[in-house]
Amino acid sequence: MKPPRFDYFAPQSSAEALAALAEEGGEAFILAGGQSLLPLLTMRLARPRLLIDIMRIEEWREIRLEGGAIRIGAGVRQAELESFPGLARHQPLLALALPFVGHPQTRSRGTVCGSIAFADPSAELPLALLALEGQVHLRSRQRARSLAAADFFTGTMASARAEDEVIEAVSFPVAGEGCGYAFREVTRRGGDFAIAAFAAFVDERSARLGVGGVADRPFLRFMPRPGTKDLDEALDAFAFDLEAREDLHASARYRRELVRRLGRLALEEAERCRA
């Protein structure tokens, strides 16, 4: 099918974009890379009256290191972040997770903030943002606010973003001393959405495991350190608490088993990468 009709507006400034968004009262969609939105339009699952293309807004196309975080503007493409100098040093988890996002031919257009905005429960970037306890910076014509990732994702493709708000940027904390990271996922084919995805983060004091693709949104939990005897029990409890989804690709039981096994592998790998 072909997309339904909509108006198109490509402003040069964020003020124009936010004004247009406020005036349309929920009938306008933000268009960034379009790699998730265009399929929705082509399948006619969405019928916006207006698309606001934000990719000509220079002030939103910046990646910068500030206050111990990598701040990624609304118009930064996934491929641009992938080739950001020193990314694997600044935040190894991002460098590990990005190659799993779609394909090189979609990362070339797709944006980091767009993936966060879609809040797909299987998507890698929302999982990475949650696992690192990053922030989502929202702006409307009236106000600006920042939310913790855990407060932003509220369900399957649902978030705390209001109709008149844009994700202006997201920030991922930079890696600290003595931290180890690992990213794993299971898919039927490379580039498919994950049946289950795992982001592990271990530092001197604690171990954390983020799981995507299993529940209606990514979840993060503190875990016993790899090598301690309570880990199996904690993974088992996490696996059940996620209330795993069942679909064509995998049963809930299979997803729980992935949480137990790959969750452990990811944590052990993160522990090995520490230092």
């Binding site: 265009l38 082509t42 257009r109």
Partner: protein, 168 residues
């Protein structure tokens, strides 16, 4: 650019394979359809139309991208390269195309244009790309004929010839 009315057609201009082109498009027209139906360049094929198959891959400002996941209005002023621009002329083949012909890298050829665009960009930007990197790029293309073995062989043969040329 002012707000474009969804009911009307608007003039869009960009560079296609090195030449300026323009045509009229409603905002909802996909770049893939603009290339084929408005410009008349049918080298870019349309398969799944949801970004999965890779047949419609073109270069947008130097990066291989899905033309079915891009609106024509989004590429105003951009530089687009398609499979039609790979060879120097209609009677010649580029190194990649020659390798695909010699190594049986295609059967029906429907997916081939997209694959060539992706590999051309890879070998240009990263001449020493590893086999794993070539496979990663090919993972963005579905071929239902070859089983990919001959595609990999053709890609590796082309890479070898291209790097030989660079050093000569």
């Amino acid at each position: 650019m002012p707000r474009l009315n969804g009911e009307r057609r608007h003039r869009i201009a960009f560079t296609l394979d090195g030449k300026p082109v323009s045509g009229e498009a409603e905002p909802r027209l996909l770049l893939s359809d603009f290339l084929r139906h408005v410009i008349g360049e049918t080298g870019t094929h349309v398969g799944c139309e949801q970004g999965i198959c890779g047949a419609c891959t073109v270069e947008i400002d130097g990066r291989p991208s899905r033309s079915c996941l891009t609106l024509a209005v989004q590429v105003e002023g951009a530089e687009i390269r398609t499979v039609a621009g790979l060879a120097a002329g209609p009677e010649t083949l580029c190194v990649l195309q020659e390798a695909f012909r010699a190594r049986h890298g295609l059967q029906c050829g429907f997916c081939t244009g997209g694959i060539l665009v992706s590999l051309n960009a890879l070998f240009r930007d990263k001449p020493e790309a590893s086999e794993a990197e070539i496979r990663e790029v090919l993972s963005g293309h579905l071929c239902r004929c070859t089983g990919y073995v001959s595609i990999m062989e053709a890609a590796l043969a082309a890479q070898k010839r291209l790097s030989g040329k660079t050093h000569a």
